[in-house]
């Protein structure tokens, strides 16, 4: 068991999310930075489908109530196991009574904690991910609170360790976009999506980031009905303010679809917070495809490092 002492700004139980239920209106949820959760799970010897904690902003404090191993990955923050500094990219043993304390995340926004054997809540619709909007999955469908106890198995056998820690990926590169179905229905204002940076507004969360910048205008009024949408899509409501959808977004939407973030760059969105600036660039399907396969090859090489 693990006991939450302080939850930090927002900590959620997440795995890689729900697949196969969008046709029922059920969102993907899951870790926004999939490579980071995957890395943390690999470091403690877990299957990559194990659930861990997505820690937003830092500040989490917890106590281990049994022996085990843990690893952090994703954004860096100063972290201590009792008085011992611990770093993302490494697995560490923990004994009962030891406390893990995370400082504030200063570069990036989300880090991930995996424990040996995974966090074992009851799966819901094939996943342990928290669906915040609809209140199911994870721990009672909500963010973690002080006093919560998370069930996991004790572990005494150390996971395979690497000679070096796992490097955190660089998220600070332009986010690559594909034009969307309504791209050509916008006027020249649409080009500004990649001609200038966009600031993430305060009214942003795991459903989507509202972007602050010039208004984007259609050439003429367009009536759209409720159509399927995806995480990574940028839609533009009548007020001209783009919304970049994330994993907790609804499955249908009726706003014009300007562009979408390519699969290979989705994970980077996890590391931006309100007030940060996003830089976009436009690519085509061939480049998006190439980037996607390179990204998957990187993940496969990661997994291969831990194979016996």
């Amino acid at each position: 068991m693990i006991k939450l002492l302080k939850p930090g700004w927002q900590s959620l139980i997440q795995d890689l999310g729900r697949a196969g239920y969008r046709h029922l209106g059920i969102s993907q949820a899951g870790a926004l930075d999939r490579p980071a959760l995957l890395s943390a799970n690999l470091l403690v010897g877990n299957p990559i489908t194990s659930a861990g904690l997505e820690i937003c902003g830092g500040g989490l404090q917890l106590e281990f109530e049994q022996p085990g191993y843990f690893a952090l990955a994703g954004a860096y923050c100063q972290a201590y196991l009792d008085t011992q500094p611990v770093y993302p990219g490494f697995a560490y043993p923990a004994q009962p009574g030891q406390q893990l304390k995370l400082g504030q995340i200063t570069s990036g926004f989300r880090c991930y904690l995996a424990v040996s054997g995974g966090i074992l809540t009851e799966p819901c619709l094939g996943s342990r991910s928290t669906d915040l909007n609809n209140g199911f999955g994870g721990l009672q469908g909500r963010a973690l609170q002080a006093g919560d106890r998370l069930f996991c198995h004790p572990a005494n056998i150390p996971p395979k360790s690497l000679e070096q820690g796992l490097r955190t990926l660089d998220f600070q590169r332009p986010i690559r976009l594909l034009p969307g179905p309504e791209w050509s229905r916008f006027d020249a204002s649409a080009l500004q999506i990649y001609q200038q940076p966009w600031q993430i507004r305060a009214q942003s969360n795991r459903m989507g980031y509202r972007l602050k910048g010039p208004k984007l205008r259609l050439q003429s009024q367009l009536e759209l009905r409720s159509e399927p949408i995806m995480p990574g899509l940028i839609q533009v409501p009548p007020d001209g303010t783009p919304i970049l959808l994330l994993n907790d977004a609804q499955t249908l939407g009726g706003y014009p679809r300007l562009a979408s973030v390519i699969y290979a760059d989705l994970w980077r969105l996890a590391q931006y917070r309100p007030g940060d600036w996003l830089h976009f660039e436009l690519v085509d399907i061939a480049l998006a495809t190439q980037a996607r396969h390179q990204h998957l090859q990187y993940l496969q090489r990661l997994q291969a490092l831990f194979d016996d």
Binding site: L24, F136, S226, P228, M230, I262, Y263, H293
Partner: protein
């Protein structure tokens, strides 16, 4: 019958009607027919489109997918669909249908006539979205069309049966909502721990049955 296809994202292909003779009823059928496409994890029906979501390792090219979709389209025209019919008991009016009188006043009908018209029609589940298990229903009698509330309610009770403009639906879970609440059902529309988790799916037919007693 023709469709047009384009990538919505680099892992999701959006299909839209490509000819005048396309019928909305075909989307659920085409969705089912596409389940066997390589790496196709999801087939999401919308009001006017279908989204095929592929796994990130997929290697489809649009030019190779088009003939495969065409082949499935051809089989559709020969199919006869036999959708399920679900009958949903509804307690109309009273505290469970606080906007029934508003709908009656707007449409010029009596509350009893509103109930009669609403429960006599047969509806088609066009697609699910907005919330888990929320079904967009087609087939609301035009005479019942009532504009949304000026101010949405902060909390619509779960199971509320509602009319919004020319659509009707049921809220599976409590949520904010701006539709007119004319009744309530106690039949669960969504339970994340049930299998299947949702009562309805695209392509189903639905009838509402006015019930007197609490169910």
């Amino acid at each position: 019958m023709q469709i047009k296809a384009q990538w919505l994202t680099d892992t999701a292909l959006l299909l839209q009607a490509g000819s005048q003779d396309w019928s909305q009823n075909h989307w659920p059928q085409l969705a089912a027919a596409c389940q066997d496409l390589a790496d196709c994890q999801e087939q999401v029906v919308g009001l006017d489109s279908l989204l095929l979501v592929f796994g990130p390792a997929h290697r489809h090219l649009l030019v190779q997918l088009l003939p495969q979709l065409e082949q499935r389209l051809q089989c559709l025209t020969a199919q006869r669909s036999s959708p399920r019919l679900l009958q949903i008991p509804v307690h109309y009016g009273g505290t469970q249908g606080p906007d029934l009188v508003r709908v009656a006043q707007h449409t010029g009908l009596s509350p009893e006539q509103v109930i009669e018209l609403h429960s006599q029609a047969e509806y088609q589940v066009l697609c699910l979205g907005f919330q888990p298990g929320f079904a967009y229903l087609g087939g609301l009698p035009a005479a019942l069309s009532t504009p949304r509330l000026d101010q949405p309610r902060l909390r619509v009770p779960a199971g509320s049966v509602a009319i919004g403009a020319n659509q009707t639906g049921i809220y599976p879970s409590h949520s904010p909502g701006g539709w007119n609440l004319i009744g309530q059902t106690s039949v669960p529309l969504f339970d994340p721990y049930a299998d299947p988790p949702c009562l309805l799916q695209a392509g189903d037919r639905v009838r509402f049955i006015a019930s007197q007693a609490d169910d």
